[in-house]
Symmetry: C2
Subunit: 183 residues, 2 copies
């Protein structure tokens, strides 16, 4: 059975971060759903118009091997303010399943909801204070147990490949990177 | 006045390549239009559903500082087979304005229409024979005059930053890369 991932998006989510994760994980064989926390048609941070696969309400009854949050503002604020997504993330963390966030989202979403507690992580430069004792300096991607975080659009490929490795295994992740010329 | 860019997309175009260019160039201040060669709603190569800004017919009367083609299959074949896009590319090349392509597209689109003639370039591994004497080994991004080519999703960031430099200048490109943590 395939591994499953949920990628929630909102108005102003960072499209390069979102699409890097979508592309890498689908190439790696993960069954990934792009879920909107509001309207199904979403205008991303640089104006890209995406149509999500489903509204988050429809996804809330499912269990996913990974929930992964793109960054971008105000996208990260909308993700933070989604009650449904917040519940799903808390359940995910408590169950020991993988949850991940990049750029603004580790600070704006995860830290806001206490989901960085006891975890080390990283985020976009300038937001480190939000991670408090959780902030680990000098890393593009931090994986601490079931919590994986990263910094920004330029680290999105490394972030996505780390998620592919954790979901689908090292060989699959390496083959995926090779096929993308992303080693 | 802003520099302008046209990014045509089709069913099966590579979304990470497309969105990397969109994101980088819009951050750099370029006025970029995503144009569909068919229906306005486009399903990209890994299932991402994009809504283009305009159909290519509407764009065909405009002049753009850059026309840039994402790769992906069968997307590149659909771009190759668009009469309107082909005319725009030929006019672009003859006028000495910038035209660019990544992954499958230098081979499937540009070489098919004689637009690599007298130019050096690169493409996705395995398609080099289509570039014949134009193929330049060992480079992630090749800029030969007004023709800029690159290899695949993993080289898309370097490709997009090169285009940003050529359109908006070195300082702007460097600042854009820095803000994206992509230096
Ligand atoms: Mg699998
Ligand atoms: Mg400008």
């Amino acid at each position: 059975m395939s591994k499953t991932a949920l990628l929630p998006i909102a108005e102003g989510s960072e499209e390069l971060e979102a699409i890097t994760v979508v592309d890498v994980l689908r190439r790696a064989g993960t069954e990934l759903t792009i879920a909107s926390v509001a309207d199904i048609s979403v205008t991303m941070s640089r104006g890209t118009k995406l149509v999500a696969d489903a509204p988050i309400e429809v996804c809330s009854g499912n269990e996913y091997d990974l929930i992964v949050l793109p960054g971008g503002m105000p996208g990260a604020e909308h993700l933070r303010d989604s009650r449904i997504l917040t519940e799903m993330l808390k359940t995910q963390a408590e169950a020991g399943r993988l949850y991940a966030a990049i750029c603004a989202s580790p600070a704006i979403v995860l830290a806001s909801h206490g989901l960085m507690a006891g975890k080390k992580g990283t985020c976009y430069p300038g937001l480190e204070h939000s991670l408090a004792d959780s902030y680990l300096e000098g890393e593009d991607v931090v994986a601490d147990g079931n919590c994986i975080t990263s910094r920004g659009p330029g680290t999105a490929m490394a972030f996505a490949l780390k998620l592919a490795e954790m979901l689908e295994g090292k060989d699959t992740a390496e083959n995926t990177a090779r096929g993308m010329l992303a080693e």
